[in-house]
Amino acid sequence: MTHAPILIIAIPLLVAFLTPLVGMASQKGRNVLVVVSLVFVAFLVFALAREVASNGIQVYTLGATSPDLSVPTGFMVPVRIILEVDGISVFFSIIWSIVSLAAAIYSISHIASETGQTRFFTLLLLMVTGGFGLMFTGDLFNLFVFLEIASISGAALIAYRTKFADTQEGGFKYIVVSAIASLMVLFAIGLLYSQYNSLNIAYLAQAIQYTTLDKIALALFLIAFTMKTGMVPLHLWFPDAYSVAPASITGMLVITSHACMYAAFRICFTLYGGVINAPVVGWILIIFGLLTMFVGVTMAVYQKDVMRFMSYHAISQLGYMWIGVGVGLAVLGNPGLIATYGRDAMSGGVFHILNHAMYKPLLFFTGGALFHYTGTRDLTQMGGLAHKMKWTTILYIIGTLSISGIPPLNGFSSKILIYESVYQFHPILTITGIIVSILTLASFTKAFHSAFMGAELPEYKGGKEVPRSMLIGMLILAAGIVFVTLFPSLVVDWAIHPAADSLIDQGAYINAIMGATP
């Protein structure tokens, strides 16, 4: 069990290296191998989550004589790569394991008519590896490497349907943006290394001085990661890349953007947590979050392409998370305010990440089902599809009610946390949030009417419901939505509050590695 962190990273990698060899032998065996390995990884993730919940932060030192020997004996500085898993990492990895499993199952029949399926699944597993490594590593340069793995595999998968021109364009935009953001992150890592001669996050958090170079590095980290996340002035690549990818990959890309959000949290709260000028950075995040919510939803109402429309909604939902966590960051230096509403705001933001990671991939999958049925993403050519796609319609309704915060579904339970806690920080945030929620419901109603309602169109009479594996992939996420809907306080107590506390409590993260040294 002590090897769980590295096994979760290494097993998808091993299976990804095996997949081309197995795929030459048989296609079905390859699919079985991929799904079974992802199920096994999901079990490992849940076991690791229980371990973290009971025994606190897990540290794994690679290549040392013992996994918990983070600092060499008789030495003050960690020299090896260290994986450090705390509440927020485990929270994100649970989301990532569930969504990647659903996406893999969904892909099997979603790409059944295409060529190059073996390489598709290889890249999907590599993307899973990159996400897990991004969430578990405690080393800055290693974080950059895994970020690149996720970006490159994501770009290749976005451009998977090579016979359309727009897919190539979307993949090119994605990889250019990712490459430049990653290079800026690498430059900032070099700035930190030049001063403190270390790459370990815990050691840097202990030694950091917040000099001018650290401020430049913080700006580069923050803007690069928020661009990868899709924050509004930098969101322009986001719909281009997400709307053209295969639907299963779009569902996974949502979680990779959440993983970049995790990296931004890690930088702000853990690396710079002790010295950061919290109100300024918190207000930067809050203002960007307001812009993100409003511009995203207004652009979404305008869209006519179903996947672009959902991508803009993904952008606008990110705003809730930035606002919740930004309020928590803005009051970070003030324990009284943290206890009053900061912790609730951060819990709301983190809880909204969980809910968004459940219903947004579900909605993308239903959009992919529409594409699978009609062969187009254009809403103006759709209509009356509810006559033939009953399951897809039901799942779309579940996702719609959940994303627009209709009680009793889970979207509401996180939004109420955000509203009530953020209102005490500044009322305008809550008001904007409610307006955005209303516009979200309106735009999804519009899409629902134009795609599913109405008389059955003659050109779509012949088709039938999407294949079973796509339905299974969607039902996994719908089951997650129902679970979070029914047991909100269970989820909040066991997953959300530990995650938020591990963000607030910087000392624990440092002591887990530097504990032996004064």
Partner: protein, 118 residues
């Protein structure tokens, strides 16, 4: 540290290289030139990284044969090696996508390949 300022030349060169490459990426509409800009940006970052580890009068950190007394720091060299290979991979994928775009649209102008907008 004024007496050391002239010695800072590699860092300044890295910063200027990054600036020039950012200018290319922003203002050149040709996709191949854009890829060249990304490669130059990577070169600037790599130059900065590898210049960090230099010690005055240091030799390569290898114990085979005759060596100097002072060795340069090994970690920045390892990081630079890794990032060079990563950038090779990124450039290969970018060029592939550009070839595909050229097959589809018949042009390398970034203003012509804007089917996705709004």
């Amino acid at each position: 540290m004024m007496e050391h300022v002239p010695l800072d030349f590699p860092f300044i060169a890295a910063a200027l290289l990054m600036g020039v490459s950012l200018y290319i990426i922003i203002f050149k509409k040709n996709l191949i030139k854009l890829i060249m800009g990304v490669a130059m940006l990577a070169a600037g970052v790599n130059l900065f990284l590898v210049a960090l580890g230099y010690r005055a009068g240091g030799g390569a950190p290898i114990y085979t044969g005759v060596i100097k007394e002072t060795m340069v720091m090994p970690v920045p060299q390892a990081l630079t090696l890794t990032s060079i290979v990563i950038n090779v991979a990124v450039l290969a994928l970018m060029l592939t996508l550009v070839i595909r775009i050229y097959r589809h649209t018949g042009s390398l102008d970034s203003e012509k390949s804007r089917k996705l907008k709004g």
